[in-house]
Symmetry: C2
Subunit: 224 residues, 2 copies
């Protein structure tokens, strides 16, 4: 995020590597080997330089990651035609952000960043807030509504991505089936009842259903 001032006139030694080159290389490394494969040392090597040269263009690894997320958002979150109906516009804008982020598995480690991830996403935030206002919410409630939608969206992505990673990793996922097989129907009747279907139900993509429920609930406004 921190786009640090305009490029100076540079009255010193000419730069061999640029911030852009660093980010491009970092993006390629992450695409190939995931975020775990991105180390300052490897990045330096692939850019044909030394670790310390990187530190001259980027404060530290966390800034690099944020820069990377920003770059990703800028190139995938393209504004598109949204529905005219306000409620549908809220759903579509949130869905667009969701889909862009969900397609990017390494995002999780960085995603947990803050409430707004990138200047490129601001337009979508605007659509959501504006849609809620047009549906009749006061501005303050609309901002709170946007946050609720962001919590829901970020949570869905983080939980699903981690579950997927764990499933691929090893047999830890089977532990859940184990637990569900041993449920005491007297104590946890509903879970026992749903136990065989649980895995299938969990695998279903119900992001949009939940999103619509949330938006409906926000607009019903049964409070304050």
């Amino acid at each position: 995020m921190p786009q640090p001032s305009a490029p100076r006139k540079a009255p010193g030694r000419p730069a061999r590597i640029s911030r852009e080159e660093i980010i491009d290389t970092a993006r390629r490394i992450v695409a190939e080997g995931g975020v775990k494969g991105l180390t300052m040392r490897r990045l330096a090597a692939e850019v044909g330089s030394t670790p310390m040269a990187i530190y001259h263009h980027v404060r530290d690894k966390e800034e690099l990651l944020v820069l990377l997320l920003d770059d990703y958002a800028a190139r995938t979150l393209r504004r598109s035609r949204l529905p005219a109906d306000s409620r549908e516009r809220v759903v579509a804008a949130a869905g667009a952000v969701h889909d862009a982020l969900a397609a990017c598995p390494w995002i999780v480690e960085v995603l947990t960043a803050d409430d707004l991830m990138s200047t490129s996403a601001l337009w979508f935030v605007e659509q959501i807030v504006d849609g809620l206002v047009e549906c009749g919410l006061p501005l303050d409630r609309a901002v709170h509504g946007y946050r609720a939608i962001w919590y829901y969206t970020a949570g869905e992505i983080v939980v699903r991505a981690t579950a997927a990673r764990r499933r691929a990793d090893d047999d830890r996922a089977t532990y859940r089936e184990h637990v569900f097989a041993d449920l005491d129907p007297a104590e946890l009747p509903r879970l026992a009842q749903a136990s065989e279907r649980w895995a299938a139900l969990t695998a279903e993509d119900t992001y949009e259903d939940g999103l619509r429920a949330l938006v409906d609930g926000l607009l019903a406004g049964r409070r304050g």
Copy 2:
């Protein structure tokens, strides 16, 4: 989570350290220095042993973390009297899980684990699913509803915890104010309009409001 079988009769050398001792020590380290301070080496040192001794009781660091979360859930998620009204029971059960996890800042790194975090939490999951069924949802929709609530809850905790950490860390948080100050009202009118209030609105705890909206929306059931 993996409670690996009952303690064997141990026909070998008597154990000097136990899994319980390891977890107790790990909990203390995390309480003092956060999850970053918990390293296998330090844990070994504080338990009066060597790194490799730990690996004899725990598969790897990730398992240790999951064990730690389980331990935390078991000691803080005590069943309590919930409201008789079904809808209120759903809200209260979700709120109880939320509050327990939110009080535990190190949880984020582990939380992103899976859909059910711990056997101790199952009772709360049961309350939520059952409450939704009693409100008239079919079981499948109730399970999906529980998942939506979990996404929202996990997202709220993760996003808030990370924002708090970042705020404490350094000046990166001020970047947002910077962006909001420079908003173009012609392009992003609502955000510009809300810009001075944004920080205050974001600071407000609206978890329960969003939760109620979500539950209302789920129960309104405007969809097949």
